[in-house]
């Protein structure tokens, strides 16, 4: 139980995917302009990461490992995630149109994102069991959502700040992201 908790906190805060591992940065800057959009994106990423990493774990441990083809994991996971997101989009569109209206545009963006690919890869490389890899995926997704929501809240306030003309928009967003990342670096060594 203790190691699950440590892994969870570790993946949400200490080894936050965006702010300490620098993955998933394109969505991080692209969708962090408004709090609402970032919440939707955070939820979509969390659920996609969790489900696709469960699937990836199964494929890796039941097919690739027994056949000795572990070096194929990257390309297999890419195929897995891309088709899985497509499937999820089809299902959500039919079964939950309200959810589709909220998430639909983000799902396609997620399909080719590095953070979604890196979570299953890291978890099979660390030889996590099924439970551990699921907890790791949920934690990573929540960590991403946390970073996104923090950034969106800052950027919503930033609109009213007196920013030098040359730094308006993306420039100041990069600086803020850097400072946010420095703050998260302070957690390192905690676990």
């Amino acid at each position: 139980m203790k190691e699950y908790l440590a892994l969870f906190i570790g993946s949400v805060i200490v080894n936050n995917f965006v702010l300490t591992r620098f993955l998933g940065l394109c969505i991080f800057f692209g969708v962090s302009k408004s709090l609402n959009a970032s919440l939707g994106m955070g939820m979509a990423v969390t659920s996609v990461i969790t489900l696709s990493s469960i699937l990836a774990w199964l494929v890796y441990n039941c097919i690739l490992l027994p056949l000795g083809l572990t070096f194929l994991k990257t390309i297999v996971f890419v195929v897995l995630i891309a088709s899985f997101v497509q499937l999820l989009e089809l299902i959500i569109k039919k079964q939950a149109p309200a959810l589709y209206n909220m998430w639909g545009i983000y799902l396609v963006l997620i399909a080719t994102n590095c953070i979604v690919l890196s979570v299953p890869i890291l978890s099979v490389e660390s030889n996590y069991g099924f439970g551990m890899s699921t907890v790791f995926a949920i934690g990573s997704g929540l960590g991403f959502a946390l970073a996104l929501v923090l950034m969106a809240s800052l950027r919503e306030k930033l609109v009213y700040a007196d920013v030098p003309k040359a730094l308006e928009g993306s420039g100041v967003a990069f600086i803020v992201a850097g400072m946010l990342s420095l703050a998260f670096l302070g957690f390192s060594g905690m676990i």
């Binding site: 494929v59 097919i63 690739l64 056949l67 000795g68 083809l69 194929l72 390309i75 297999v76 195929v79 897995l80 088709s83 497509q86 499937l87 089809l90 299902i91 569109k93 039919k94 079964q95 609109v159 009213y160 700040a161 007196d162």
Partner: protein
């Protein structure tokens, strides 16, 4: 050799399995899409401006085809041509697109409206409004830092020297960008055919409104009483004109004649109103 064959088998296997799952899901979860929606979408200008009130051209096409109550003339940039085509496709009655212009509902220039404190922060209406509702005495009036001027994609707005923005009627397309940019909702899109307009946004009681601005609407209701068609209503101490009734029924407007603060007036700048009888102004 064994590895190479296994790679082929595994990749082909996974690809086929997922291919079949996706094909099956596509069939099972397929949505019946009305083909008319795509035809209507092709007719729309696809500027995705959102002036119709929907998220984009596709969303409007969907709404106008599926919902009988959505009128075919909501596309402002498309004007009459698009409205006509959409109406034909959907079998709805073609109505003309109401040409709209931005109307600034405030006349509280620096000499007419009081200010409650001196603001020295960022020159931005939204930021200034966060500090006790803005530096102006009237908390519903124009803040005057020109967020609307900056938001206008057509360069139709400029800042006047007395702290109020000015709309260039020739350049204004009625897109509504300034309406969205104004934190006080001072700007409103009104029909070009409107006869009269209320130049005030104050929702304060008469005495309070008068105290902070000499040209405010005090909600006395004299204009409403003088309108024989019931087009004017007092809502939250503010006269609100129903421009539809006004444009259709009234040809000789008298409502504004007795306004004590001249907060309601003829829509001079608008082309059609120039032709209506303006005897009452004298």
């Amino acid at each position: 050799m064994y590895t190479a064959i296994m790679i082929l088998v595994v990749m082909a296997g996974i690809g086929t399995v997922f291919g079949f799952i996706l094909a099956f899901a596509n069939k099972k979860f397929s949505m019946e899409v009305n083909p008319l929606i795509h035809i209507v979408e092709d007719v729309l200008p696809k500027g995705q401006c959102g002036a119709c009130g929907y998220a984009g051209c596709m969303a409007y096409a969907e709404a106008v085809v599926l919902n009988q109550e959505v009128p075919p003339n909501l596309c402002v940039p498309g004007k009459d041509v698009v409205a006509k085509a959409v109406a034909e496709l959907t079998g709805k009655a073609a109505e003309k697109v109401e040409p709209r212009v931005a109307h600034i509902r405030c006349r509280g220039t620096v000499d007419k409206a009081t200010s409650s404190y001196e603001y020295k922060g960022i020159e931005d209406c939204a930021a200034a409004s966060l500090v006790q509702g803005g530096p102006k005495g009237c908390k519903n009036g124009c803040v005057g830092f020109g967020n609307c001027v900056g938001s206008c994609p057509f360069g139709a707005m400029s800042m006047g020297d007395k702290g109020l923005p000015i709309v260039d009627m020739k350049k204004c397309t009625g897109c509504g960008a300034c309406e969205a940019a104004c934190p006080k909702k001072v700007i409103q899109m009104i029909s070009m055919n409107a006869h009269v307009k209320v130049d005030c946004n104050s929702k304060d009681k008469g005495a309070v409104a008068r105290k902070v601005c000499t040209v405010a609407c005090i909600g006395c209701g004299i204009c409403a009483k003088n309108c024989s068609y019931g087009a004017i209503e007092i809502k939250d101490n503010l006269a609100v004109v129903d421009h539809k009734i006004c444009a259709e029924k009234c040809s000789e407007a008298t409502c504004f004649a007795k306004c004590p603060t001249k907060a309601i007036g003829v829509a001079h700048q608008l082309k059609v109103s120039e032709s209506i009888n303006l005897k009452a102004t004298v």
